[in-house]
Each structure stands twice: as C-alpha cells, then as structure tokens.
C-alpha cells in the first residue's frame, strides 16, 4: 500500500488533537524532549521510566507503524544532512549537532514539539520566545550554510 504525503490541513489538526487528547486524558503537555530527559535520568532503572519516556517510545512505534503500513520500512544508514560531508565528517556532524540540540533544548526546557506546538498553544510567552528564537536561528543558519557550501538543492 502506498500512502501519499498527508496534506497539511489534515496533519496539523491531527497533531493538535493529540495535544488536546493528552490534556483530556492525563492533563499533561506533549513534548518529545521530556522523554530523552527521562531516559537519561532513569534509563538504568526502566521501572522508573514514566509518562515522558513512554510518549517518546510511542513516537518511535508510530513511525514504525506508518512505515510498515506504507510499505516503506527498509533499514538504512543513509542520512542527508544537506552538507557536502561523508564518512567520519558526517558522523561528527550528526553527533555534534545532536549534542548541541540536546544541550540547547534542555537549557530552554523544550523543543519544537514541547515549546513550539504545545507551549505556544497553551499561551506560554516563554515558549513564544523559544519558537521565535529557534526558527530565526535555524532559518538564518540554513541560508548561511546553503550559501557557503552550496551543498543543498
């Protein structure tokens, strides 16, 4: 079965309804970062893993479910960063950018889902500042990298 890309006017409201559903069921916010924090803090004692870690595990399973339904599940190590890197340089870029993202997200207390989708919808001005900052930085840096390296398009 092939599955076309979900149009924005279905995908967006569905994501919004997940936030509403979690609020209605457990009165908790949606956010992927909390799961990584939960894994780091309690990963050595899996019985202590809570809501956040299970949410993160659910996201992994949701991706796996989609790929299986769509027939696109085929494990691969290929990753297109858009940067003209390969081999150990690409490995370093993935690790380094992941490290920066982890430090940054925990410093800010949220990521694209926690601050960007959930926090903003709850009316948090801290989340509004965060989403504006990470979009501005990422848009500027993406343009700078594309211009400097010409590795995209």
């Amino acid at each position: 079965m092939t599955m076309a890309r979900c149009p924005w006017y279905i995908a967006g409201p569905l994501l919004g309804m997940v936030i509403v559903g979690l609020r209605a069921a457990v009165n908790k916010p949606l956010g992927a970062l909390g799961g990584y924090i939960d894994v780091v803090d309690h990963g050595s004692r899996p019985s202590h893993l809570g809501f956040s870690a299970f949410l993160l595990l659910g996201i992994v399973l949701g991706g796996a479910l989609f790929a299986n339904l769509a027939g696109t599940f085929s494990p691969t190590w290929v990753y297109s960063t858009g940067l003209p890197l390969n081999g150990s340089w690409q490995l370093a870029a993935l690790l380094g950018a992941g490290l920066a993202m982890g430090i940054g997200a925990r410093t800010a207390g949220g990521c694209t889902s926690g601050h960007g989708l959930c926090g903003v919808s709850l009316g948090s001005s801290a989340s509004a500042v965060s989403i504006i900052t990470f979009f501005a930085t990422a848009v500027a840096l993406a343009h700078a990298l594309a211009w400097l390296l010409g590795g995209t398009s």
Partner: protein
C-alpha cells in the same frame, strides 16, 4: 500504568502523523528552513490553532482529566535568558540536522538507523547540560580548600 499507556498511545498517534506528513525527512525540514515551501509552517500553525482552542474548551468546560482525575489546567512560564540561549543552540542543531527530537524518534522507527547516531549525541547533550549549568552557578561558591584539595 494507565498514564504511561496514555503517553504511549499519544506518542504513537503523534509519531504516525509526523511520518505521514514527511516531517521525518530532513530534506522536507531543510526546504522549510530555506523558505522554499510552506507545508511545515501550515502544519505547525494549524496544529497550534486546534490545540489552543481544544485545551481552552476543556478548561472552560471545567472537566477533570479522564485518567488522572485532576481539573484540566496548566501554568505558563515567563521568558528568561535561558530560553533565548538554549533555543539559539537548539536552532543551530536543527538547521544542520533537518530534524528535532520528535521527528528524530519517528525517523528511527521508520528504520533510518543513522538517526541513532543523532540520538546518541542528543542524549549526551541532555545528560551533560545540568553539569554545565552547575559549573556556572556553583563555581563561585566553591571553597578554596576544596578546589585545591581536588
């Protein structure tokens, strides 16, 4: 246990839609950040709109949450320096990777195993961040004898 199950199911719905909308494809995110297409902005905007209305309806209705049995409500934070500093660093990583913590998890589920390398970096960053913070705030209070004794 039911709270964890709710998290698992909510996460599954979230991850499924992220994959279905191709938000797990770094090329899609890069095209969004290069302002080549509006798709992702429209997804985020409509998700925020639906969530903002939905959670307020729940709060206005004064219902209690189905599983945890608490009144629906939340508190919000005021912006601090850390939100700007942290999000700038986060945005830098986002633009290089074309993915962020949620889509990364769904991507790994899809079988894109290089996501595990990003995930290792991300977990390391999440793990070291509190120690970086402690350095900044605790250092001035370290007694000289302690510092020398080390």
């Amino acid at each position: 246990m039911r709270v964890r199950l709710a998290g698992l199911l909510g996460g599954m719905g979230f991850g499924f839609v992220l994959s279905w909308a191709r938000l797990t494809d770094p090329t899609v995110i890069r095209n969004m950040l290069l302002l080549r297409e509006a798709h992702v902005f429209l997804i985020m905007g409509s998700a925020i709109a639906v969530a903002a209305i939905g959670v307020r309806l729940l709060r206005i209705a004064g219902v209690t949450s189905w599983i945890t049995r608490e009144p629906i409500g939340w508190s919000v934070q005021q912006p601090e320096r850390r939100h700007v500093v942290g999000s700038a660093l986060f945005g830098a990583g986002w633009s290089v990777l074309g993915t962020c913590p949620g889509p990364l998890a769904a991507m790994i589920g899809e079988g894109k195993l290089s996501g595990l390398i990003v995930g290792a970096g991300l977990l390391a960053g999440v793990a070291v961040q509190p120690t970086l913070k402690r350095h900044r705030t605790v250092e001035p209070h370290v007694e000289l004898s302690n510092a020398v004794g080390l």
